[in-house]
Structures are given as structure tokens and as C-alpha cells.
Symmetry: C2
Subunit: 372 residues, 2 copies
């Protein structure tokens, strides 16, 4: 029997005031990829939000099967994922890589489960809703069994931009990201820490994971910056950059939105930051107008007071489900241009928390019912 | 007698093919701030480039006076900076903070020296040329005793953008920086390393230097990102951001250029990176056109081959005097928009090397002559 490797983090969840207790009439929930960085967070969030669960099935690859994870004081043995494991499942979270989702998500759907997929496998599929509940919850009505959870760096940006779009319109977005290594998995975190220790002791290092596991070349991440996340596409953009650009248009339902991304990996464990430039449709908008809109925005916390040196930073955002926005400034040349700085925990709102929120929305909209 | 704290780094200097040896007829050179991060690099570069020096005077604050620095095998004792130290000096480098430059640079000029000032004291003074030799060497002809060396993050950007402007015109620049802690001095480097060690050992930390020494609040830099460099101005931009915007317009002599900056500090020791979006004047420019221009650009090294995972990174740029450019991509929405990634050693091209290059240009243009 393997050790429970779950990361113990306490989350602050302003957005969720769930009161439903675990009951006999709750849902049969499955988490595929339960031992991974995001899967562990999903299990913990289900417990902390008292998600109405009748039965919890935890699944993983063969390698991690047998691991024991504690859910509300009960030990659950992780099983090897396979089609028959989804019999009777109502809600199936997937976070075990794109190929597992491609293989098993249709099997889960075939057995009557609604899949909430945290990989990129179905995100750009026209028949699959790509959902950030604060932005396009209504898209859930069109689901045909699979709902896709967007890319981490996209989620925090669109959730901050949607209230601005609603109030003032949105024409253009240029984003440069400052992304944490946990987005590349547990191995990348280990690599960063080991490299850091080695370099502080004047020892040599042998990069083997970042920027992309399995790529031909690997580079130092400790005390360095790598302007590559995911592999390159033909046009010179990385897939991470293409995801941010395409997913933003799909989630905001704005195919004509101008959006460009540069995605960069940094020696930060958790918490993605983004330097975002936008142009709004409406004229004469002020920084104060944007403050007022973001102050009321769901899931968003405004941290913007230069005189008090108040602005978002990843070290402050870790373990929180909110999206933090600050450094909002009007462009000095473009009257309708604004710059801002958006930070969020990439494992929470960027992944696990958004997935759990989608499940909450499905219940709220009466789109899922327990089979028993 | 204090220890020689000089950092030993070997520089690769593609751009400088100086052949003048140290002779009796060389210059009397003074370096004020000789024990600082940038001052040490200036002394080392003067030696490595065989700058024609007859006499080298090294100056510092009272605190560092007495330090011994080795120049071409000779020990030189650093003296306390004072007006009379500039008697007979031909070229005076200043890198000891803005207030020292304000106080002593005019004293050096009064005594017949040409000052090359690496602080922000005179940069926006209309009577002071602000020079990056690859961009506006001719501005040196208008000097009245003081020449200003631009801000580190500005230098690497304008040197990469100038050849593009010459070929295709330039309308707009939006930059997000990824800046190393050495830009904030030796204490900031120590703070980052000590915090990193403490956090890896689960010990608590007490930030005391970054983002701004003497500011009210200090934040963790290890495994974190701080979106503040220098203090805030009234309009919500930091002074670092205002420097990048104003200095770029001055150096490129383009008061109407649209330029916006977001400046961010990272846990990297040396090497600034920049995610830069530009719009050029000319239509139908391709990424290949920009490659061709940058391949021939002085001081610039093109590192741009996505299929080979070739792009600039600070860990590769450290100790080199060049500016590295890669990740060049045409914007998918704006035909005349391009994204790129610019990296350089902030202590070299960003500071010491640009200052030494200015001195070389003064000799080349016959703007300085040895007094003896």
C-alpha cells in the first residue's frame, strides 16, 4: 500500500457558500488522475465544500493505483482507471492527461456520467462547452456529456476580463504570462527545487523535465526564465499560447476578439501571473470605472493601491480560489487602453476549483441528477 | 585593507575589436562607485578591452574606501570620492547612485572631465545626451560635459528595436519585463539567495530589501514575482516603467512613439528578459524580414529557431555583452504587429558595457583627448 501523497493546503473559498452535506442521496463522483497535482486538489475541494457525494471513486494510472487518499476521514484506495469503473458514476472529473481523457471520457459518458475534463483533449471541440462559470455558465446547457475545463492561464484572464467586457466592451488583448512550474506537474516542482539547491551549492545540474517532458532539449529553470510552455506549432507560437488565444475567443464567445499571448515559465512553485494589455470599445473609461466593475465581479479580488504597495503576487495567491487583479493603469497613448496584472493559484481557479465550480453549476442548473 | 570583492566573470565581446594598448599617452579614467555591482564590471571591461588608460582612479563612498581592486595585475586602492579627485581626469564613469552623480558629476566636468553617468540623475535633462551607441551615437556631439547611460531595461530594448525601426518604421511598443535582482544591487542578490535557502529548509523569512530599499513594505522575492520596480509615480506607473517609456522616446528621437511598459522583478540573479509587442509602419513585413534585419544588427544576436527550441534565456546571456532576440512572431490579428523576446545581461549591455562603449565612441568621434 502506497503513501498518501496528498498536499495539505487549506483553501479560502469566498465564492462558494455550499451547505449541502454528504448524504445518501448525493452523487457518485469519480476523479481520474486522483494522485496528480490537480486531482489531489479536486478531492480536497470536494471535501472542503461538502460536495453532495454518495460514493467517491478515485482512479489513476496503473503506476499510482493502490495509493490511499483520505476523504473526510475515510481511506479510499485509488484504482486503475478502466471503462467499467465508470458504471453508475454521475460526475466524472478527468485530470490525467489528454490521451487518458480521449480514451476514457467517452466510456464514462456512454455509462451515463457527465465528464468534466481538465485536459486540452476536447477544449476546441465545437460540440463541447468550454466553461468558466463566472463567464459562460449558460454554455453548460448545450453539453452532450463532456464539459471542458479551460487552460489555467486562460481561466484567470477571462474571469477578470469578462466583467470589463460586459461594462465597456473589449476589442483587443495582449498578454505576457509569468507561469509557475506546478502547471507542468509534480516532477517539474521537484526539478526546480533540486536545481535550486544544487546551484546554491555550486553543483552542476542536469535538466530533464522542463520546458516540455519528452522534448528533445531541457533547460535550467532555477534562477532562469524559459519562454516556452508546451510544444511549438508551425506558426512559431507555442500550443500554450495558441490555447490562450483560441480558448479566450471561445469562452467569451467573441470569435473576432484580437488576442495575442506570450507564455513564459518562471522559478515559482505555484501561482500564475499575467501582464495584460486591453483595449475597450467604449470611450472615456477611467481606471476608477474598471476598479468599480472589478470590485463587484464574482471570484475576483481587487488588490490595487500603489501608494500602499498593494498589488497581487503569486506568494499571496497560493491556496486561494480567487483571482487577484491590480496595477490597473490607463495607457498614456491610447485613451481606451489599459494595463493590468492578474494573479491566481493555477492549481485551484486555474484547474481544480474551476472544475468543482462547473460541477456546482451543473447541480444549480439542474443538469445532473443522482442515478440512485 | 579590505578584500577585493570584484566579481570574476569572463566576457564575450563580439562587438569590440579594440586594439589600443595601455600607453603613456592614454587617458586618465576615474570610476566612481568602483566597488558596486556595475562599477566592478566597468573596471573589468576596461581591462579586458585594453582601454587606453594612462591612470585609473577608483572612487567610492567613505564606507567602501580602502578596498583594493586589481586592474591588469596592479592593486589600486579605492579612495573616497570628492571634488578634488577629478583633477586631471579625462573620462569619469559614475555609478554610485543618483545623489552622488548630482553632487559630483558637475565637479568633474568643472575640472575638464567628460562624465558618463550610469544613474538616472541626468537622463531626462534636455541638455544631456542619452546614448546607446548602436542607436544614437551621433547624439554624443551635443554633449556639454555629461553623457547619460540609459536604464538597463531600456538599453536592450532600443538596441533591438532600432534596426527594425530603420527598416520598417515603428509606431507602437508594449513591453512586459522579467527583471533580475542584480538590477537592485548586491544586497538584493544576497536577499534572494538567503530567502531561497530559508524557504527550501522550511524556515521563515524577513524581507528587507526588495522591491525598493527604504520603501515601507518589503516582499518575498524567492519563488515569487513582484510587479514593482522603483517607487510609484502619481499616475500609477512605477518610475522604472516611466523611465522605459520616456527614455525610449528620447534615445530613438521619437517623441510621438507610443510606448507602454509593465516592469516586474523575478527570482533571477542576472539577465533581464522582455516580452515586446511592436507595430511597424510598413505593410507586408514578415518574420523573415525581421530576422534578416536583426542578423545584421550591431550588438544583437538572433536566437530564433522554435523547431530546435532555440530562444534567449537569462542563464545563457549572463557574462555576454550582446543582446539576444528570439520568439519573433507575427501577430495573428494585426498584420503589422510582431511579438519578440529580448534578453541581455543587465550589468553589461544594460550598464557597464554600454558605458564603456560610450567612452569608445567618444574616442572614435574624437570628442575626448588625453590632457597630457
Amino acid at each position: 500500500m502506497k503513501t498518501n501523497k496528498i498536499i495539505n493546503r487549506t483553501f479560502e473559498m469566498k465564492s462558494w457558500k455550499g451547505k449541502k452535506e454528504m448524504t445518501e442521496s448525493g452523487f457518485h463522483v469519480a476523479v481520474t488522475g486522483a494522485t496528480g497535482a490537480v486531482g489531489q486538489q479536486i478531492v480536497q475541494l470536494l471535501a472542503q465544500t461538502n460536495f453532495p457525494i454518495r460514493k467517491l471513486t478515485l482512479l489513476s494510472s496503473e503506476r499510482s493505483a493502490g495509493t490511499v487518499i483520505t476523504y473526510k476521514g475515510k481511506d479510499i484506495v485509488v484504482e486503475k482507471a478502466a471503462p467499467e469503473r465508470y458504471e453508475g458514476v454521475d460526475i466524472a472529473f478527468f485530470s490525467a492527461g489528454g490521451s487518458i481523457s480521449q480514451q476514457l471520457a467517452p466510456e464514462a459518458v456512454k455509462r451515463g456520467a457527465i465528464v468534466i475534463d481538465n485536459t486540452s483533449a476536447y477544449r476546441m471541440d465545437e460540440t463541447v462547452p468550454l466553461v468558466v462559470p463566472e463567464v459562460n455558465e449558460e454554455a453548460l446547457h448545450e453539453h452532450r456529456g463532456i464539459i471542458a475545463n479551460p487552460n489555467c492561464s486562460t481561466i484567470q484572464m477571462v474571469a477578470a476580463l469578462e466583467p470589463i467586457r460586459q461594462a465597456f466592451g473589449l476589442k483587443k488583448v495582449i498578454v505576457s504570462t509569468y507561469q509557475a512550474v506546478s502547471g507542468a506537474g509534480v516532477q517539474a516542482i521537484e526539478e526546480m527545487k533540486n536545481q535550486t539547491k544544487a546551484l546554491l551549492n555550486d553543483q552542476s545540474i542536469q535538466p530533464a523535465t522542463l520546458p516540455v517532458k519528452g522534448a528533445e532539449k531541457h533547460y535550467q529553470i532555477a534562477f532562469n526564465v524559459i519562454p516556452q510552455i508546451d510544444v511549438f506549432s508551425e506558426n512559431g507560437y507555442t500550443l500554450e499560447e495558441m490555447k490562450m488565444m483560441n480558448e479566450t475567443k471561445k469562452i467569451m464567445n467573441m470569435p473576432a476578439l484580437k488576442v495575442a499571448a506570450t507564455c513564459v515559465r518562471l522559478p515559482v512553485e505555484t501561482g500564475h501571473s499575467e501582464s495584460v494589455y486591453i483595449e475597450v470599445e467604449k470611450g472615456n473609461v477611467t481606471t476608477k470605472d474598471i476598479h468599480e466593475v472589478l470590485q463587484k465581479a464574482p471570484g475576483v479580488v481587487l488588490q490595487d493601491n500603489p501608494q500602499e504597495q498593494l498589488y497581487p503576487m503569486p506568494a499571496d495567491a497560493v491556496g486561494k480560489t480567487d483571482i487577484f487583479v491590480g496595477r490597473i493603469r490607463q495607457d498614456l497613448d491610447e485613451n481606451n487602453g489599459f494595463h493590468m496584472w492578474i494573479v491566481s493559484d493555477n492549481l485551484l481557479k486555474g484547474a481544480a476549483w474551476n472544475s468543482v465550480q462547473i460541477a456546482q453549476s451543473l447541480i444549480k442548473l439542474d443538469l445532473v441528477k443522482p442515478k440512485n
